[in-house]
């Protein structure tokens, strides 16, 4: 069953057709990878769906509800959350506070003005458990700004995950980290996200990561979809081999 779909979604920047009339759908429970060369339109597509950008035309539906022009907070309430390509954290707050804030926001508790945040044991406990799932429990009291890059990537995902979304967009969760950290990050993310029954869309460049973790792969090229299918099919696709991998499939 389709959780999210777009109809002829379009976003142009001058002459550049970043997203060019895309019909995109994400099925409930799947772990989907969105791949493509730089400038293919992957991040723009996610930005349109998450309300970071407004589309020129087209529609966006989540569970058949039209959210094309809904503001960010409404889309979050509808079940969409995202992480960012460049890690976006609250660096001067503790690791625990970063996750706790997402929980306070989800629970509508951020307007509580005369109550100590740390005394909310329900939120603190959930945040601590969640950090444990992401392997960050030992860093809970440290500042987010003091984490290593791989840990920051994980925390970025944990903050988005704490919103308990139906659909989680992860924009290059392994960029800028070592090969060893990549595997660790993706193992953790995949296990937590699948364990939580959350639908995930991952933008990723590393095709080894894509083929290993995805249920379905969507390939973008110059604002349009080039291919869409399970990893084995994408691996054999001649167009993908030419445009994305720079090889011929017969190789």
């Amino acid at each position: 069953m389709s959780l999210l779909r777009t109809e002829r979604l379009k976003k142009h920047f001058g002459e550049t057709r970043a997203v060019d009339g895309v019909d995109f759908s994400v099925n409930e429970g799947e772990f989907l990878s969105l791949v493509g060369t730089n400038g293919a339109g992957k991040t723009t597509l996610v930005n349109l769906i998450s309300a970071f950008l407004s589309p020129d035309s087209g529609r966006i539906f989540i569970a058949d509800r039209d959210i094309t022009y809904a503001p960010v907070d409404e889309r979050i309430r509808a079940g969409i959350a995202r992480s960012f390509q460049l890690v976006n954290l609250f660096d001067d707050l503790s690791v625990l506070d970063n996750v706790a804030l997402a929980i306070f926001a989800r629970e509508g508790k951020t307007k509580r003005i005369f109550a100590l945040a740390e005394r909310d044991t329900v939120v603190t406990q959930e945040a601590t458990e969640l950090l444990g799932q992401f392997g960050l429990a030992g860093k809970a009291q440290g500042l987010a700004g003091g984490l290593a890059q791989g840990e920051r990537k994980l925390l970025d995902v944990a903050v988005a995950y704490a919103l308990r979304p139906k659909l989680l967009f992860l924009d290059e969760p392994t960029s800028g980290v070592s090969t060893r950290d990549k595997a660790q990050i993706m193992d953790t993310v995949s296990s937590v996200v699948r364990g939580g029954g959350i639908t995930a869309v991952v933008i990723e460049h590393d095709m080894d990561v894509v083929f290993k973790y995805s249920d379905r792969v969507v390939v973008m090229h110059e604002g349009r979809f080039l291919a869409d299918g399970p990893p084995e099919e994408i691996r054999r696709n001649r167009d993908v081999a030419t445009y994305l991998l720079g090889t011929d499939v017969s190789d």
Binding site: I76, F84, F90, R112, I113, A117
Partner: protein, 335 residues
């Protein structure tokens, strides 16, 4: 570079209790003049506390907080002059109401902007208020201002009054304890606010507005509420200050007053809770003694400000905390 680790809650409470105990003895060991100076410092400390909810915790630099300080002061003066009110408690309530209405209105205009645009808007609006106080002289007394003589003032629901010509020392002592109590309430309230989910959300917005937005936080609503609370605290400070001064004039609404409040935060350090309070108290002494020593006192204060920004950008308290943390690390590292 890591920030100095925050002391535990118990250590903070112990330090606050020690400071409070020392403050309780000030009128006993110090003379009337020193007690009066510290009372001024405490009222300014409340203003700094309110101001820093915006600068330190929300990342918004207001150059117009004289508006709220003046609103609190003029609320007292106008209530005494036109309504015949003498109760300090009613004055504080009036100051809260006056500054809250003003902050709510100014906030709607200002909080949708940040950085220089926010600063300029707050400055412009405060100057509108200054002009009104200046021009509507038949109400505000113009440059002559409005008098708030302590002899007409009553504290604690009329139980404490200060009649007679020789009551000044008695007033200063009683009023010091009154302001100290108000100061403690304000500090406790603000501490609660900045450690609440709301306070954490403000800090999150300050650190990363985009991420906060993608947690579903409606940024400008939180900024508006912070602006309102900040204005109220500064208004309370103005209300407490005016009986001590005995007079309010348009000068309290003029931009140098806003500049002074910014100075408090820079002097003490705006990235920690106590910095602006300490800054306000130190500034008060600096100003009084600089005025007494030289007619070029503004130059003296200007040089101090330049030196602070250059050599101690985290302010007196922030620098002391960093130094203390460094010494602690060195002690732990040595065998």
């Amino acid at each position: 570079m890591s920030a100095p680790q925050a002391p535990s809650l118990a250590r903070r409470a112990a330090a606050a209790a020690a400071v409070l105990a020392a403050l309780l003895f000030v009128p006993v060991v110090a003379g009337t003049y020193q007690t009066q100076l510290l009372t001024y410092g405490l009222t300014l400390g409340i203003a700094a506390l309110g101001f820093n909810l915006l600068l330190g915790y929300s990342g918004l630099l207001s150059f117009g907080h004289s508006a709220f300080f003046g609103a609190g002061a003029y609320a007292v003066a106008l209530m005494m002059r036109y309504l015949g009110v003498t109760s300090m408690e009613l004055f504080i309530l009036g100051g809260i109401a006056f500054s809250a209405v003003l902050a709510a209105l100014f906030g709607v205009v200002c909080v949708r902007h940040t950085r220089i645009f926010f600063a300029i808007l707050t400055l412009a609006l405060s100057q509108v208020l200054w002009t009104l106080a200046y021009k509507f002289f038949w109400i505000t007394g113009g440059t002559d201002g409005l008098r708030v003589p302590f002899s007409k003032l009553t504290l604690l629901g009329g139980q404490v009054a200060f009649p007679g010509a020789d009551a000044f020392a008695k007033f200063i002592t009683a009023y010091y304890y009154y302001v100290l109590a108000a100061f403690c309430v304000c500090v406790a309230l603000m501490w609660l606010i900045v450690h609440s989910p709301f306070g954490k959300t403000l800090q999150a917005i300050r650190d990363n507005e985009t991420r906060a937005r993608f947690l579903g936080v409606r940024i400008w609503r939180y900024r508006w509420l912070a602006f309102l609370v900040s204005g109220i605290f500064t208004g309370v400070a103005g209300s407490l200050w005016v009986p001590l001064n005995g007079l309010t004039t348009p000068d309290v609404l003029y931009w140098p007053q806003s500049g002074k409040i910014v100075f408090f935060a820079v002097l003490g350090g705006f990235r920690n809770f106590t910095g602006p309070i300490v800054g306000a108290v130190i500034f008060n002494y600096l100003e009084v003694y600089a005025v007494a020593v030289t007619e070029y006192w503004q130059i003296t204060l200007g040089v101090i400000l330049i030196a602070l920004v250059t050599f101690l950008p985290s302010g007196v308290v922030g620098s002391a905390a960093r130094l203390s943390a460094r010494l602690k690390r060195r002690r732990e590292a040595s065998p």
